[in-house]
């Protein structure tokens, strides 16, 4: 029963609450209109000025006006009231107003509850590890605020509530893990009235237009991470990650077209197994080492051997896929062949002449390819990430005048030239390379690793990969960490000197690796753990086809058992350490009580000894020794161990006289 007086909220809990709310802010500043989190920040700051003076928002019409004003402001900012961002903004605005208004104990608890809801909102806006760490800190601080609040009005030691909160959370960890693994992940049939948040990080698209790769080349965002569980990483060859196959060429622009008739190639032997954790991009494409031959759950292998997810990928997803580096020859259908040779009519005669000159010199496809690559190698083509702007029909401009570009330009122009020379060709977009993390044994592939290359069909061996970028800029294909840093430097994200001096330091390199590994674990094991992964787990621990209700029961029973064990352990930890002197004296008192001389609560040891001696005159000497030893051990400045031994012996012997007597009575 909390008294409903108009109490002020003590300063300390308010401080902890404010600290917690500050940690809730990062995802808010990232995803919301900036005035919303700023309002919360202002509210927190002002509260510390208002609270000691007793000021607060009291006037009801003003409150209503503020709420209406906030609603209007949200509507103006987002153009809607529905959806995740406006919804979260509304909660934050209400929280800010509540901070202005709150002053009682009940309202303090309400604010902490709202803080929990804000944590949840943070996870709606972003889920990466950095945000998760922020939110977990906020959660811990909210718990601390509650503990500080309920431990009493006087502050006490500053860090004690934080320690108590960390203890509670640490003890909760086994339960959290248990629930995370076993709590049934049912998908509620009715969807929340929230639009899924737009995933803007992708950058990848189903077309290759001039400049599309350029936009991503400077992005350090993670595309996916790949693990080779069988440790058969092909170290010697560059890692081409196949994404999408583009078959419709319009000169410099290539597009995806669903038209191939031939079925994808499945393969059983000689494959490389990969575990890939993909970052959400809001689309259907999935990646695998060139070329995937198995279908992960929830995805299919399309003609042209690329993967396509059934559902849009809006959260991190982990899947297993097998790839084969070499595939058997596959015939082309006549119609398919025709489509793979289509070129736009707008191609200039000069280009047509160039392609035809190659095929007339030697009709062997291998020779044509060699000539085309020679053309790129010898005609002073340059590789640059900022080649200036090309338009859709600028193939002439690129091939004969500027001769500067990067993978997308080379792949597009090469594939067009091949088609003109009579070789079926297509463009593949995906990623190339990736950074190997030695600590976590996985490849980290970033958006900046985006790459485009060509595939040509040869009558004798079938589809074959040709990467024209390789002849222009071999270092791009074999790029490593160094070039990654340079790319960063070019994008102005970190200065080259800073990155060179610090990133190479073993200590910082280790921190980088650790952070990447933690991110990977978070994305693959935590965010990627869904209903399917749970089913796989229950299968593995020998509970196939277990129903959600049984899972719920199982976790409840284990949780109950855990709580009982925890309580017993805590009780054991809180037991009073017995004091040997006090224990012996208590034993003496108990013995004396049995012999008819119980010690009064107010009786000092000396008084008690003299009284017991009167009751039991036979033991008076022993009683005096016990009493003197006890007083000495308790109150004398220097007490020695021998008197403790003497006390133990005398207490042991005390009363033996009576037992002996009783025996002799029995003997009569």
């Amino acid at each position: 029963m909390i008294t409903k007086r108009d109490t002020r909220i003590p300063r300390r809990p308010l401080l902890w609450l404010a600290a917690a709310l500050v940690f809730v802010l990062p995802p808010m500043f990232d995803g919301l209109a900036p005035w919303v989190p700023t309002l919360l920040l202002v509210a927190i700051t002002t509260k510390f000025w208002m609270e000691p003076r007793g000021y607060r928002l009291r006037f009801l019409p003003l409150k209503i006006a503020l709420v209406v004003g906030a609603l209007v402001a949200i509507f103006i900012s987002y153009g809607a009231i529905k959806g995740i961002e406006p919804g979260v903004s509304l909660i934050i605005v209400l929280m800010s107003l509540k901070i202005f208004e709150a002053h009682t104990a009940r309202e303090f608890h309400f604010m902490v509850m709202l803080g929990w809801v804000l944590c949840l909102c943070g996870f709606f806006l972003a889920q990466d590890l950095a945000i998760a760490v922020c939110i977990m800190i906020a959660f811990t601080l909210l718990t601390t605020a509650l503990i500080q609040f309920y431990r009493g009005l006087a502050g006490g030691r500053i860090w004690q509530p934080l320690r108590a909160a960390l203890t509670l959370l640490a003890q909760a960890v086994p339960l959290i893990v248990l629930f995370f693994l076993l709590f049934p992940r049912v998908t509620t049939a009715f969807r929340l009235l929230l639009t899924p948040n737009a995933v803007s990080a992708s950058g990848f698209s189903d077309r290759l237009s001039p400049g599309s790769v350029e936009a991503m080349a400077n992005s350090t965002a993670v595309a996916f991470r790949a693990e080779f569980p069988d440790d058969d990483v092909p170290r010697s060859i560059p890692l081409y990650w196949r994404g999408l196959v583009l078959t419709q060429g319009d000169g410099m622009e290539w597009r995806f077209r669903e038209m191939l008739r031939s079925s994808p190639q499945f393969h059983s032997g000689g494959t490389i197994r990969q575990l890939i954790t993909i970052e959400p991009h809001g689309e259907h494409w999935m990646f695998a080492l060139d070329r995937p031959v198995t279908e992960p759950p929830g995805a299919s292998l399309r003609p042209g051997n690329y993967l396509r997810s059934w559902q849009a990928i809006v959260k991190p997803r982990r899947y297993e896929v097998k790839s084969s580096l070499e595939l058997a020859r596959q015939d082309l259908q006549p119609l398919e062949r025709k489509q793979l040779l289509e070129v736009p009519a707008s191609i200039s005669p000069r280009i047509r002449e160039l392609a035809q000159s190659w095929s007339q010199a030697d009709p062997d496809p291998h020779a044509i390819i060699r000539r085309a690559l020679d053309f790129f190698q010898t005609q002073r083509f340059r590789y640059s990430l900022s080649p200036g702007e090309y338009r859709k029909n600028d193939l002439d401009e690129f091939l004969f005048r500027r001769r500067i570009g990067f993978c997308e330009h080379y792949a597009a122009s090469f594939a067009t030239l091949m088609r003109l020379a009579g070789i079926p060709a297509r463009v593949v977009i995906g990623y190339l390379g990736g950074e190997f993390n030695e600590m976590g044994h996985f490849y980290l592939v970033r958006q900046s690793d985006t790459h485009a290359w060509c595939e040509v069909w040869l009558p004798d061996i079938g589809w074959r990969r040709v990467d024209p970028t390789n002849v222009v800029a071999p270092e791009r294909v074999n790029s490593g960490f160094e070039s990654f840093l340079e790319r960063n430097a070019a994008a102005g994200e970190i200065t080259p000197r800073f990155s060179r001096t610090f990133a190479r330091q073993p200590f910082f390199a280790k921190i980088r690796l650790t952070w990447q590994t933690l991110n990977y674990v978070w994305d693959s094991r935590v965010l990627g753990f869904d209903a399917e992964a749970q089913q796989a787990l229950t299968h593995e621990i020998g509970l196939p086809d277990v129903r959600p209700v049984s899972l719920l029961f199982l976790s409840a029973i284990i949780a109950a058992g855990f709580v009982v064990i925890l309580a017993t352990w805590m009780q054991f930890r809180a037991r009073v350490q017995p004091d040997p002197v006090q224990g012996l004296y208590t034993k003496f008192c108990a013995k004396a009580a049995r012999m008819g001389a119980p010690r009064e609560p107010t009786e000092g040891p000396a008084n008690f000894a003299s009284r017991v001696s009167r009751v039991l005159p036979q033991e008076s000497k022993r009683i005096a020794t016990i009493s003197n030893c006890y007083i000495g051990l308790r109150y004398a400045r220097d007490s020695d161990a021998s008197s403790l031994h003497a006390l133990a012996r005398e207490v042991q012997l005390f009363g033996s006289w009576k037992r002996k007597n009783r025996k002799s009575y029995a003997g009569r």
């Binding site: 608890h109 009493g152 009005l153 006490g156 509670l168 909760a172 935590v526």
Partner: protein
Amino acid sequence: MNLARLPRLRPTAALGGLVFVLFATWYAASSQNNAAAYLLFFTLSSLFIVSIPHALLNVASLKATTESVKPTFAGDEVSLPVEVTNQSGKRRYGVRVQVPDSGGDEQAVDEIAAGRAARVLIRFPARARGEYEVKRLCLASAFPLGILRAIKPINCHQRFLVYPKPEGDPRLPPDRARSARNRPRTELGEGDDFAGVRAYEPGQSQRQIDWKAVARGHPLMTKQYTTEATGALYLDFAAVSGDDTEARLAQLALWIIEAERARRSYGLRLRGTEITPSLGQVHFHRCLRALALFK
């Protein structure tokens, strides 16, 4: 530990809030298939579950003992001194001590170190005159999360007296006894003429202690004086006008206070009881006690 003696757990209003937040989190997590939100849901529920033994053990090993209560007048406040002892080896926090159904506030003890004790004074209104007994104390704590309140009832037998509320005419009644008894015997107590010494009894005025004798090593003695009994006042229940017993007792209580303040020796006559005239704290409380217990 004895399960039957575990404290009881009562949910607070905050539990409703928690359930709501938990449900919202679960619903959001499952409809969005958001593993991070699931993690938050599990963290919050695990935190709550783990806090249960903490809440229980926080008050389980607390003991409370009461100390004697000074008598009060009806309408005033009763102050009950309580000593709360922490018998465990861990620090305990945020304990509130309360006398259930007394209508009084609860007193907070913020923190008790292991093996230590804390003292609080619980105040509650004294209602009607009579003898009462505090049979039960409650130690309660919402620590750590304020979602559950652990309550440990503690039995005690602390009796206390509530004197009648002093009300009525403050003028003392005319001294009828004086004419009846010529020069009544003098009463030892406060006065001007030294009459000897007597062993000290707790409650006697310290001013009367023979400090010179104490300085010489003698035990505590009080110097006794006599007063010429200018007239011992008999406060008689039967002589108070009115029909209402309580009002008459209130009048008597007021007179006792006034007489004591005026240092006039007074006696009390109730139905079946008579207290011979005297003065001083012991006598004062004896008279009021008789009023409190009057039936």
